[in-house]
């Protein structure tokens, strides 16, 4: 049996979502067309709408409805500090700590040499422009402590240090309340290697 062409198209379109294969795409399509047509209508409209009004903040590169997002245009932030994160969720996590008053730059990814994800995909040019605005005094690299996050931090440091900016890296080591007995040996080995004097 052959599916209607529009159904095939919908299934194909749903597959652009991460982790959605042909089977789950077909299941979603049936659900939208059979069980929840109003929901499908809302989904279609909100995708259309979001596509039209959401784009990247000119300063921090995060998704925003304004050309400059509310965080970047706030008067209560320390404009001399710029914290670089991989993803918007990382920014949210840092915000929840209430311990950082500076501004952010969101790379929307990380260098991933083996996947061919390079400097263009993570907007390094935009970051350099942002960091060189004359107000930023220190750039804090808060990319992940994965091999890709480390490589990303290394190259951003090279690029920004060469332009006279002060660059720091968020610390790593034992977790809050961490007991040596229960910490994995990778974290522990790093904590020893990167110990600090008192």
């Amino acid at each position: 049996m052959k599916n209607p062409q529009a159904l095939d198209q919908l299934v194909e379109s749903l597959r652009c979502l991460p982790g959605v294969g042909p089977k789950s795409a077909l299941r979603m399509a049936y659900h939208l067309l059979q069980r929840d047509r109003p929901g499908a209508d809302r989904l279609a409209n909100s995708i259309q709408n979001a596509l039209q009004i959401v784009s990247h903040c000119q300063l921090c590169n995060n998704l925003s409805e304004q050309s400059i997002c509310s965080l970047c245009s706030s008067d209560n932030r320390d404009t001399s500090l710029l914290c670089v994160v991989e993803m918007p969720t990382d920014l949210m996590m840092l915000e929840q700590t209430h311990s950082f008053q500076g501004l952010y730059f969101v790379l929307m990814g990380r260098l991933s040499p083996l996947d061919g994800i390079g400097p263009k995909e993570i907007h390094l040019e935009k970051l350099i422009r942002r960091a060189k605005d004359g107000t930023v005094r220190e750039v804090i690299l808060a990319t992940n402590y994965t091999v890709e996050g480390e490589a990303t931090a290394h190259y951003i440091n090279e690029l920004l240090s060469a332009r006279g900016l002060r660059v720091s890296r968020i610390a790593r080591g034992l977790p809050m309340g961490g007991e040596i007995e229960n910490v994995d040996s990778g974290t522990l080995a790093q904590a020893i290697m990167e110990r600090r004097s008192l």
């Binding site: 040499p113 400097p119 091999v147 290394h154 690029l159």
Partner: protein, 244 residues
């Protein structure tokens, strides 16, 4: 009839993670380099869930101990733990590590054990994490990789089986070796080098700047020959980064 012996469980295996990529909603496919089994692919189920125990362990360039089962091409990874001696690759060394991994992913056939190469890879990572001059380390690995894969890289004799002469200029071709300038291959595009470069490489001596330069050109040509048309991502990334 299927019996338990077909489960093919492997425990306590020395491995390195070469690469991972997303698989289904919450899993990863992991490309491992195993000492006993060579390059193998397996699924780490649920490894992309936030609280997955395996998540933090799936990092390249660390000696790990793994357990898996399955006899198909895609196996199931059960556990990973830290092996001996954590390695800290930073900066340039990290990018060199990615380069080694890309070479292994592109050139190592699946499920073909290369114990000596595995040991040499571990040693190379150790050297990268402890030194600042990475070029000789990379040349040694490239050469050893081709040799372990069974590709001849003759360094002591030329294609006529004559001893290499240190002061003579040769053209070097893949699958053929060093040709004297006046031989029939001289006008094809081989790598031009002097005999001393080959002798230095045979003796693992990369102290001469000319040897460093010519061995780099030689290995680049040979690797390009065996890699085929598809360029290396890691090399392209370094080129792109230099544009800033």
């Amino acid at each position: 009839m299927a019996t338990l012996s077909h489960v093919f469980r492997q425990d306590n295996q020395q491995v390195f993670v070469l690469h991972t990529y997303p698989f289904k909603e919450t899993s990863l496919v992991v490309e491992l380099f195993s000492r006993e089994h060579g390059r193998i692919a397996m699924v780490a189920k649920g490894a992309r869930r936030p609280r997955s125990a395996m998540r933090g362990m799936l990092q390249s360039f660390q000696p790990l101990i793994g357990a898996w089962s399955g006899k198909l091409e895609l196996k199931t990874l059960h556990s990973l733990e830290w092996g001996s001696g954590l390695l800290l690759l930073q900066g340039e060394a990290l990018m060199c590590g990615f380069y080694l991994n890309e070479l292994l992913l592109r050139l190592l056939p699946r499920e073909d054990p290369h114990q000596a190469l595995f040991d040499f890879y571990g040693q190379t990572l150790k050297t990268l994490s402890a030194s600042f001059q990475h070029a000789p380390t990379l040349r040694r690995f490239e050469l050893r990789l081709l040799q372990e894969l069974g590709y001849a890289v003759p360094l002591v004799h030329d294609e006529q089986e004559d001893d290499i002469h240190p002061e003579k200029t040769y053209s070097y071709f893949a699958e053929r070796g060093a040709c004297s300038d006046h031989s029939g291959y001289a006008n094809r595009n081989g790598v031009q080098l002097i005999g001393k470069t080959l002798q230095d490489m045979a003796q693992d001596d990369y102290s001469d700047p000319l040897t460093q330069l010519q061995s780099k050109q030689l290995m680049r040509m040979l690797l390009a020959y065996y890699l085929g048309d598809k360029p290396l991502h890691t090399r392209q990334l370094l080129i792109d980064l230099q544009q800033f």
